[in-house]
């Protein structure tokens, strides 16, 4: 059974004054468990909208969006989302931010401590548990956001351009870290990005979306074996695949 099953999903936003925007139209995508799927496409094609639907923060206008066979009908700790702006709680320390999910779900204190320290280790935040978000660099904040999402041990983790505001070096570093975390944790990842290289490097499959209205244009399987090293991005196969994706996106933007 697929973990995520989007069938003819459409999402129309009304602005309250009769103006409607069709963000997604007849969107179809099936994702199996433990898969790493990236979504790429021009601005405004509905990538964020799809993630918000999966997160349960928006509801489909028509079509079926199934998670584990059940229609998504609201936020649920089983499908966590990591936003580009991190959205950490500024009044909570790193530790307390990561603890938030287990805490509101009523996990006992010792279990909480166990989970939090596990994910602090996993994302490499040892030593800064007591700091507040404003005392962290962008890369560290994003690690906290990822750990906070993972602390609920979700089946799916949705990431909306999580590395978009990081500098190039930190970004490359975070990509490698994310793959390591995913490999150790093996939850399903839906990853939205603007970077073709990032998408090809990370994913099992790459979904290219088209715009007006937002829909799936083509899905590329990414055959490179895992674990992957950064070096593969300069291999001929990688470059050729990335060029193919780029051609398709450029065609869309014409």
């Amino acid at each position: 059974m697929p973990l995520i099953d989007a069938r003819n999903v459409s999402k129309v936003f009304g602005d309250g004054q009769g103006e409607n925007t069709t963000a997604l139209d007849d969107f179809n995508l099936v994702v199996v468990e433990k898969e790493f799927v990236s979504i790429i496409g021009p601005s405004g094609c509905g990538k964020s909208t799809f993630l918000l639907l999966l997160a349960g923060l928006e509801l489909v206008t028509s079509g079926d969006l199934l998670l584990d066979g059940q229609p998504v009908n609201g936020p649920d700790p089983g499908h966590a989302i990591v936003f580009q702006e991190y959205l950490l709680f500024p009044w909570r320390t790193v530790w307390k931010n990561i603890e938030f999910g287990p805490e509101v779900r009523g996990a006992p204190k010792n279990k909480r401590a166990e989970v939090v320290s596990k994910y602090i280790k996993l994302v490499g935040l040892e030593g800064v548990e007591g700091r507040y978000p404003h005392e962290l660099s962008g890369g560290m904040k994003q690690r906290v956001a990822i750990a906070r999402a993972l602390a609920n041990e979700p089946k799916v983790i949705l990431m909306d351009e999580p590395f978009g505001s990081l500098d190039a070096l930190t970004r490359e570093n975070m990509q490698v870290e994310l793959l390591r975390i995913w490999q150790e944790n093996r939850c399903t990842v839906i990853f939205v990005t603007h970077s073709i290289e990032e998408a090809v490097f990370l994913s099992d499959r790459l979904v290219v979306m088209g715009t007006h209205p937002g829909r799936v244009k083509k899905i590329f399987p990414i055959p490179f074996p895992r674990p992957r090293k950064r070096e593969i991005i300069s291999s001929a196969d990688f470059v050729a695949l990335a060029a193919g994706v780029k051609g398709l996106i450029l065609e869309e933007e014409k």
Binding site: A55, G56, L57, P75, D76, P77, H79, A80, I81, F83, E85, L87, F89, W91, R92, T93, K96, F100, G101, E103, V104, R105, Y132, R148, A149, N152
Partner: protein
């Protein structure tokens, strides 16, 4: 404090003292600082000063306390419920611009010459900054922060206590601090107009008998009280925000 910060007051008091000693200006208008200190000492020794301070502080404390309590609780409700805000907003905008002192005659008619009418005036003066800041604070909470909490499994009550309250607390505390100054303004006005005790009364009484040093004592004490209260509020603000960062709000507020 930087050293430069004390030079100008010292110079001022030095010149002032000189002017007073040499009687360059009639002491009736400008007594020397040492004469003022002597007056303060005698007022303190007789206990008169502390009675006035105590009475003023009691009135300010009651009025401000009520204003803070009502302002924060009503502000949270109004920030949370758009409906309630729409209902109450016209009323608030009607009462808010009225000067607190303008209400004094009516309040005396309603509540008599005792502390009641004065406390109500202080309440009126303190309420609105707290109320408006609380509303703004609650309404200003980033919706995406709330969504982040929801996706992590928080129910509406948990979102409120763990996200909305802490996120709006800095703005609420700012309102609470602004009100301290307004409450001090109002208490002086009220006591000058209609009281037989308190620091405002002390000023008027001094004026009636041309006791200029006493007037200066009143002003000094008011300045010091206002300053101390603001300091205290600032320290509390910093401490609460740290405390707040370090705990979970569970069961609190």
């Amino acid at each position: 404090m930087k050293r430069g910060n004390v030079i100008s007051p010292i110079a001022l008091f030095g010149i002032w003292e000189l002017v007073g000693r040499l009687e360059l200006v009639d002491p009736l208008f400008l007594p020397a600082p040492t004469a003022i200190l002597a007056e303060a000492w005698s007022l303190a020794r007789s206990g008169e000063l502390f009675i006035h301070i105590g009475v003023s502080l009691y009135r300010v404390g009651m009025g401000y306390g009520m204003g803070a309590l009502v302002g924060v609780s009503l502000g949270i409700l109004m920030g949370w419920s758009k409906r309630l805000e729409e209902y109450l907003d016209p009323l608030i905008e009607m009462i808010r611009p009225i000067s607190p002192l303008a209400l004094l005659p009516l309040m005396i008619l309603w509540f008599g010459m005792g502390d009641g009418s004065k406390v109500i005036i202080i309440f009126k003066a303190s309420l609105f900054p707290v109320l408006l800041n609380t509303i703004a604070g609650v309404k200003g909470v980033d919706i995406k922060l709330i969504q982040a909490a929801q996706t992590l499994g928080a129910n509406p009550g948990q979102v409120f206590r763990r996200v909305v309250l802490p996120a709006s607390l800095p703005t609420i505390l700012t309102g609470l601090r602004i009100s301290t100054a307004l409450a001090m303004l109002a208490i002086v006005g009220v006591e000058m107009l209609a009281a037989e005790s308190g620091l405002g009364y002390l000023l008027v009484e001094a004026e009636h008998v041309f006791d200029t040093p006493k007037m200066f004592v009143g002003l000094l004490v008011l300045g010091a009280l206002g300053y101390l209260w603001d300091r205290l509020a600032r320290v509390a603000q910093n401490r609460i925000l740290v405390w707040h960062k370090e705990t979970t709000l569970e069961g609190k507020i």
